[in-house]
Amino acid sequence: MSVLDNLHFNEEGFLINPTQWTKEIAVELAKGEGIAELTADHWKIIEFCRANAETTGAAPTLRQITKGTGLSTKDLFALYPKGPAKKVAKISGLGKPEGCV
């Protein structure tokens, strides 16, 4: 049994219904993205994305994440290596970011 059972994902791996998201789900999704353990900084980013999506309806862009959390671009790419844009949105249970910057 996994917390991911009974959840639906689109063909790119994004959770279809963001309201089903829980922290336990994030932990499992992170493992699937190669992140064994979510640290306080990982959570800071996830929580910012969740809050941002609640007000704007979309996952934030990378620049919005660095501006909003105070973390640097280097931090962001170190925490979520090899493609943070999609990884962060996926783990946060949101769709693909819609902005370009």
Partner: protein, 167 residues
Amino acid sequence: MSEENRKIAFICSKGNLDMAYPALIMGWAALGNGVDVTLFFTFWGLDMITKKRVNKLEIAPVANTSFKFSLMGLPTGNLGIPNIMGIIPGMTAFASWFMKMKMKKLEVPPVSEYLEMLHDAGAKIYGCKMTVDMFGLKDKDFLPVVDDVVTASDFIDMTEGAQIIFI
């Protein structure tokens, strides 16, 4: 590593403000999606990585057939801004200011800041040796994000397997 990572390389040869952005935007998107990025600056593109020039990039309205009055929000359809207006002193500065203002509204960072973001995200940034020599530029003239000045041959070697985009 089971398979080789996707790679994209951009050759930036233009120093106009509007031509500075395509590689920055695409490169940033590529990095965000986990693609390796290399940027190679040659000819007028060197302005983008030169300290004295990077914050003074401009866009000229003269001979630009896309310059229409409608860009200013006027309901004038395809009516072009006459070239003779473009040659008035200050028009290039005005057009550049106008474009920068539009970009700022979209929260697009200035070129120098964009390059820092790309570099911090792991992009490799190089100047082209031949044109650097031609313009008489020295290492101290470049932004700190520039990794090295390399020859065309070096660039070809280091972008093996990459998709190359010339701008």
